[in-house]
């Protein structure tokens, strides 16, 4: 369930007043973000479900502090990533996986924090990309989803699903990408460079 920034702010306000429907809206809005971070961190389904619950508990406890909708995705992503990395570390330790004898605890914690920040930043971008996708025309959303957001869908299948000749897919997808790019420029998506995140230039919270 997608909420825009205003909708999220209204939902948070209603949550603080005890509206459970609003609470459900907020949980659903961030459900894919939370779960994707867990899975990307390598957690199994049980651990992912535990992290999901923990993050929602923290969200619930911090409802009064989270007033600005625009800060929410980062807060959710960082909170989830830290918890996911912590659970992963415990799981690794229980399985006997270690960093090596010469690695200090401080280095382990620093690596965890850097890993959490990178996970969070990429997930936040993924959320922003999908929010941008939701704002372009439906036919473009459908085409770009088939081409880039789903695994290896053949052009023949895309042609059939879209009711579009195979030869038209290329030029149409270029126009749709341009619409998405314009939308993302409006939402300042490109101000955080993916390459910076990948190289460990983590975001501050």
């Amino acid at each position: 369930m997608r909420l825009d920034s205003d909708g999220l702010e209204r939902a948070l306000k209603r949550c603080r007043r005890g509206d459970q429907d609003a609470w459900a809206q907020v949980v659903r809005h961030f459900s894919a973000l939370i779960y994707s971070i867990c899975r990307r961190c390598g957690l199994n389904a049980d651990d992912s479900a535990d992290v999901f619950q923990t993050v929602c508990t923290q969200l619930y406890r911090n409802l009064d502090r989270l007033e600005k909708a625009e800060t929410m995705p980062k807060w959710m992503a960082v909170t989830t990533a830290r918890e996911a990395v912590r659970v992963k570390r415990i799981g690794d330790r229980n399985r006997g996986v270690s960093f090596g004898e010469e690695t200090t605890l401080e280095e382990v914690l620093q690596a965890d924090e850097e890993g959490a920040h990178e996970l969070a930043a990429r997930a936040e971008l993924a959320l922003q990309l999908r929010a941008g996708l939701a704002k372009i025309p439906e036919r473009c959303q459908k085409l770009l989803t088939l081409l880039y957001f789903e695994d290896d869908v053949a052009y023949g299948d895309i042609s059939e699903t879209m009711g579009m000749p195979v030869g038209a897919i290329g030029p149409t997808r270029a126009r749709c990408l341009e619409k998405l790019r314009a939308e993302l420029n409006r939402s300042k998506f490109f101000e955080v460079h993916v390459s910076d995140i990948s190289s460990g230039d983590s975001l501050s919270v």
Partner: protein, 176 residues
């Protein structure tokens, strides 16, 4: 977009997808606009390939049903000079409100002074606690200052008094 760039439009997308095209590459290297477009397209496609998994419905439902947000105790608005006079305008620099919660009643006066607002209050019951920064309490009266009206939320005896601009149920909205 320049005519030459239009000719390369589809091929820049293919470059972003990783297809080799020396001619398009050469154009991009000489054209800052297409270079930026290529970089942005690459960023988009890189993020699009990120793992994105919706949580199972059972996990979502567990999180929804485990936590029933408890309504916060708060005063409700009984009257406002802004609402009664219809003087809802941006230039309003003084107004009064009366709010109630169970047996408690609080009368508030908001006065614009300089760059901020002074909030003067009077309660009909003894003030046991007042959570407002810099508040001065004298008997059943209190006073504090805020830079913005939106920051004027406070708690009196553990019950929230919303800031006039924040409360959508509250008609005391100067400038609304």
């Amino acid at each position: 977009m320049k005519r030459e760039c239009i000719e390369y439009r589809d091929r820049v997308v293919e470059l972003a997808e990783g297809k080799p095209d020396a001619d398009a590459r050469s154009h991009v290297d000489q054209c800052p606009e297409c270079r930026q477009r290529l970089d942005q397209l690459k960023s988009m496609l890189s993020v699009a390939s990120e793992t994105w998994v919706e949580a199972p419905e059972s996990v979502i439902q567990a999180a929804i049903s485990s936590f029933v947000p408890t309504p916060q105790r708060r005063f409700t608005l009984l009257s406002s000079t802004l609402a009664s006079t219809g003087a809802r305008r941006a230039s309003s620099d003084q107004f009064q409100t009366v709010l109630k919660h169970e047996g408690m009643e609080v009368r508030l006066s908001y006065q614009k002074e300089g760059a901020g607002w002074t909030v003067l209050g009077r309660s009909n019951v003894p003030i046991e606690s007042l959570d407002a920064e810099g508040a001065v309490v004298t008997g059943s009266r209190f006073e504090f200052r805020v830079s913005l009206l939106g920051n004027a939320a406070f708690e009196l005896n553990g019950v929230l008094v919303a800031a006039p601009l924040e409360d959508s149920d509250n008609d005391a909205r100067p400038g609304a």
